[in-house]
Amino acid sequence: MSEVITVSTRRGGFQQFDSIADEFEEDEDVDMSDVDEGESGGEKSGLQIVTPGELVSEDPAWMRGHGTYFLDNMTYSSVAGTVSKVNRLLSVLPLKGRYSPETGDHIVGRIAEVGNKRWRVDIGGKQHAVLMLGSVNLPGGILRRKSESDELQMRSFLKEGDLLNAEVQSLFQDGSASLHTRSLKYGKLRDGVFCQVPSSLIVRSKNHTHNLPGNVTVVLGVNGYIWLRKTSKMDSARDAPSGASMGSTGGPTGAKSLKADSVSITRLEEESSWQIYVDENDPTITNSVRQTIARYANVIKALAYCEIGITQERIVSAYEASMSYSNSGSLIEKEAMESLGDDVLNAEKMRGSPL
């Protein structure tokens, strides 16, 4: 393999029809009478696969969810995907599609437009999300009322292109999201790089910000937007031994927790000042941290390439497996990505934790 570039070629074809060349043995002539093919195949996996226009159920008792439409008692599928029956709700989950926001999702977004008292945020969905001026922390105190001068200097808080993480506060009638950043864990993102994976690979969970080995923190947006950064003081505070940052349970670390609290209160004010919107990175990011971040970015892309769901454990496991490649730049090759994916899955099987 060349150190400079890999080129894979194929003659005589438009693309690799991957392993689906086994068909067309059958005659393709058409008779006036319709030959109805068994459409109920594909249940080997136990999941029912349906395609648009297909009858999903004749039972009128179901409530019809996304991906379906109905006529009289019949429910039909409107997308290609798998049938999901939750309680009395019948829906079809498409195999692919854009991110659909849900209330409470922790997402990463990019400012697309600064509007009247609101920002429009690209979150990789069907529509931009809205971030109201009233839904962000304003400089100079967390509980301050927004003023007219704030409206005029919105671009000095967040401007086009800026990245932030936020929570979906509510959904509008048409399915678009309203965001908020009224917590110190949300807001403008700094000190790192952005990467993107299909949103279906991110599992909704309680926590989407993880500190990784090598002094790197990852924010896994539910929408598939990911931010990798150098672990900040705040990040490490969050991961400090339980109780320390929460300051709730007293116990043997009571004294310590008091101290932690006082730190966080002073920082709270500090963070609520202009500091939270400043466009500067931590000046102490070392070259080795940068290299670690690049490696993590490649590891995440490899997991996405193998269509493996992305979790903190898998990122760490893939990161460790990737150490066999001394140069993280070789992880952009397909073979390397595939073997990394296999390594992760094998390691999971060995440990017997299928997630």
Binding site: G53, Y69, F70, L71, M74, Y76
Partner: protein, 305 residues
């Protein structure tokens, strides 16, 4: 489009509800074509067609030109359709790339020109170097729906009506004789295509249209502008009286059962027959009118019969 015509919700509901109850605003039945009025201008090939409030004018002109290199034995034939804000605010000056305008122009093109309604070989004067170029200019004067149908009648009547100057060819020399010198000659018309447009409405939900078997979709013939604005789909069938389908265009819109589309084609045929007759009739009448003194003015000696 320059301005979209808006139709109020209550009016739209009223029209649709009426259709569901088998009624149309102007009292016509679903299969009833509006009466067609054809009138002629002073010159040959100047025709105005009126259908209700819709008014289309077509004028034929010709000149001598060079044939296309790859078709030396054929004359040229061009149909140009011009819409202007005069016909309605939905049209824009000088911009004929709107969806409806393009479709309308293409259908007339296919119905008349591509189907060979005009004998283009008869337009050849000297093979490869000289031929007649016939041009039909269609102007939309007033729009109340049914442009395609009216234009087609206008173009065909005008072509039948038109007379080009007589010529004599002597080697490479072509002499065009002025109309007052020699009787002009008619164009060769091979068949008369007639367009009939159906508009479809779906009285029920889309689900019923796609999955149901009631086939309850409504099809009306010759919609007015308001009906056109509200319709879910359209079909233009072009036929001639030889029972030939010249062109069919159902460019998307409400899915319709194949059998009911066939039924529509058959309905269109009866209208085709009637309109063809009407056209031939008015041509004959106009010809008689124009030539009523012909026998008197003839320099020939009268013969005993």
């Amino acid at each position: 489009m320059a301005k979209d015509i808006e139709i109020s919700t209550s009016e739209a509901q009223f029209i649709l509800e009426a259709l569901k109850q088998n009624g149309r605003l102007d009292g016509r039945s679903f299969d009833q074509f509006r009466d067609v009025e054809i009138s002629f201008g002073r010159e040959y090939g100047d025709v105005t067609v009126k259908m209700g409030n819709t008014k289309v004018q077509c004028r034929i002109s010709c000149q001598i030109a060079q044939p296309y290199e790859d078709r030396p034995f054929e004359g040229l034939f061009l149909i140009s359709t011009e819409s202007s804000p005069m016909a309605g605010p939905q049209f824009e000056n000088g911009n004929n790339t709107g969806e409806d305008e393009v479709l309308c122009a293409r259908i007339i093109e296919k119905a008349v020109r591509r189907s060979g309604a005009l004998d283009v070989e008869g337009l050849c004067i000297v093979a490869g170097s000289k031929c007649w170029a016939v041009r039909a200019d269609v102007h939309f004067l007033d729009c109340d729906g049914g442009f395609i149908d009216a234009s087609c009648v206008a173009v065909m009547t005008a072509l039948l009506h038109f007379k080009k100057p007589d010529i004599s060819v002597l080697g490479d020399r072509v002499t065009v004789h002025p109309v007052d010198e020699r009787e002009p000659v008619s164009l060769g018309i091979l068949h008369i295509p007639i367009c009939v447009t159906f508009s479809f409405f779906n009285p029920q939900d889309t689900e019923e249209n796609i999955k149901g078997d009631s086939n309850s979709e409504i099809a009306i013939i010759d919609a007015t502008l308001k009906e056109e604005l509200l319709r879910d789909g359209t079909l233009t069938v072009t036929l001639n009286k030889n029972r030939e389908v010249v062109q069919v265009s159902k460019a998307g819109g409400l899915p319709m059962d194949a059998l009911s589309l066939m039924e529509n084609c058959h309905k269109a045929y009866t209208i085709t027959e009637r309109l063809t007759e009407q056209i031939l009739d008015v041509i004959k009448k106009d010809d008689a009118e124009r030539n009523k003194y012909a026998t008197l003015l003839s320099s020939e000696n009268a013969r005993e019969t």
